[in-house]
């Protein structure tokens, strides 16, 4: 103890200097907005890098399964392409091409994900520098995953379907009746489809896809199939239980969907509400 005090006394100049610098640093980080943002951002960067490193490792063990999934998706796309080519021959080229450029897809990998909370979020390894922006949809090989709400330079994140705060506009494929899909917060395999009126004919196994009304997702992306439905007496709408097509416990590779005309569409719609 004595020698420690002696040590401190001998080098008091250095320690006093360091103490004053620490005080200054605390002042800087607490009061200066720019430095605070930088400081917090770099800590975010540290945590995101850690997530990425750990997902790099675990991905390695799932390579076989991921390969299978990608191959299956490839095959499916090939089939769709064949059909499209046939269609294209018979239709006017320019109109179909124009419509197709509305949405752009950017591949990304999920580096952090959860299914066991009430508000689950996913983090992707692509960010602003890769062209990711707010309000881009996240689509996996088996359908909708979520939406991007936060973007940094190298990473992006947002709520997945398994988030009670987020709903997605959905419709029944066979008859085009649309409602909104939400998650009740209990089971990560099931969600609910709301606002479907009684007179609609339903059957278990009916396919639920995105409606395309939300302007985040293109029309027709898979959400799930009807597992069960009933109606409470006195209610106006069905209670429909949807088995989600995406398995949120294993999902790794996704594509981020950019709507090139999102701003234009929102501006147009804003004009309606001004009346």
């Amino acid at each position: 103890m004595r020698s420690l005090l002696q040590f401190l006394a001998r080098h008091y100049f250095v320690f006093l200097f360091l103490a004053l610098e620490v005080v200054s640093l605390i002042l800087i980080v607490n009061y200066n907005n720019f430095q605070r943002v930088k400081f917090l951002n770099s800590s975010n960067w540290v945590s995101a890098s850690l997530f990425e490193a750990s997902s790099n490792l675990t991905n390695y063990f799932q390579l076989r399964k991921i390969n299978d999934e990608l191959a299956a998706e490839n095959a499916e796309l090939q089939t769709k392409l064949q059909k499209l080519e046939v269609v294209e021959i018979f239709s006017r080229r320019d109109t179909t091409l124009n419509r197709d450029t509305t949405y752009r897809f950017i591949p990304a990998r999920i580096i952090n994900n959860s299914v066991n909370k009430q508000y689950n979020y996913v983090t992707m390894n692509k960010g602003r520098l890769d062209g990711i922006e707010q309000d881009m949809g996240i689509v996996g090989p088996h359908g909708v995953v979520g939406v991007v709400t936060n973007v940094t330079d190298h990473y992006s994140s947002g709520p997945s379907i398994l988030n009670k705060r987020w709903r997605v506009s959905a419709k029944i494929k066979k008859n085009n009746y649309f409602g909104s899909l939400s998650w009740s917060g209990d089971n990560h395999e099931y969600a609910q489809l709301n606002e479907i009126p009684f007179h609609v004919e339903l059957a278990a196994g009916d396919t639920i896809i995105t409606s395309g009304y939300s302007s985040i997702f293109p029309e027709g992306i898979m959400l799930g199939v009807i597992d069960d439905f009933n109606h409470d007496s006195g209610a106006n709408f069905y209670k429909i239980k949807i088995r989600l097509s995406t398995n949120f416990k294993t999902i790794t590779h996704v594509q981020l969907v950019k709507n090139n005309f999102l701003e234009e569409q929102i501006n147009l719609e804003d004009q309606n509400t001004n009346d």
Binding site: F13, F17, L20, E21, S24, L25, Y31, N32, F39
Partner: protein, 168 residues
């Protein structure tokens, strides 16, 4: 002694006001911003206790911070400069040509000595300040250029001030 104390208090106030009201508004092409207030640390007597040096540096910087709305930034840089002052003096002078009762003045120490003394400390201060302000090494060359150009301007002002005011 009392007279000296009064002199330094007045110098402190004048330098802070000059910096806050006039010099902070000078920015040539977004690059050059002189920080003349560090002159106060340069001119403190040789015999100033080292802890006092640090505290004065800290509070001088903090006063500038309060005026320019950047708590901590100038305080850290000026403390750093005060920390370097004793070793800088040791580095550039031999023991016998320092009279402990005097203070570092251009007229007393000679132009060459004063120039080296000012150059080392002002450059150290400006580098520290500008890098804390940028808070990253991303635009390294840009920040380096800014600090060196500003340092050159500050040194010029300090030398001029020595000829104008502190002739004695």
């Amino acid at each position: 002694m009392i007279r000296d104390l009064l002199k330094y208090v007045i110098m402190f106030v004048i330098l802070v006001l000059l910096q806050a009201l006039l010099l902070n508004n000078i920015q040539f092409s977004g690059y050059v911003n002189p920080y003349l207030y560090v002159l106060f640390i340069l001119l403190l007597p040789f015999e100033t206790p080292r802890y006092l040096l640090l505290f004065l540096g800290f509070f001088l910087g903090l006063s500038i911070d309060i005026f320019s709305n950047t708590p901590g930034m100038h305080a850290s840089a000026t403390t750093f400069m005060a920390f370097l002052r004793p070793s800088t003096i040791d580095l550039i002078s031999s023991r016998d040509n320092i009279d402990a009762n005097s203070s570092p003045r251009l007229t007393l120490m000679g132009f060459g000595w004063f120039m080296r003394y000012t150059l080392l400390l002002v450059v150290a201060h400006h580098l520290f300040l500008f890098f804390v302000e940028a808070f990253s090494l991303n635009a390294f060359i840009h920040t380096l250029t800014r600090s060196l150009l500003s340092a050159a301007f500050t040194i010029l002002l300090i030398i001029i001030s020595q000829f104008l005011i502190f002739k004695e």
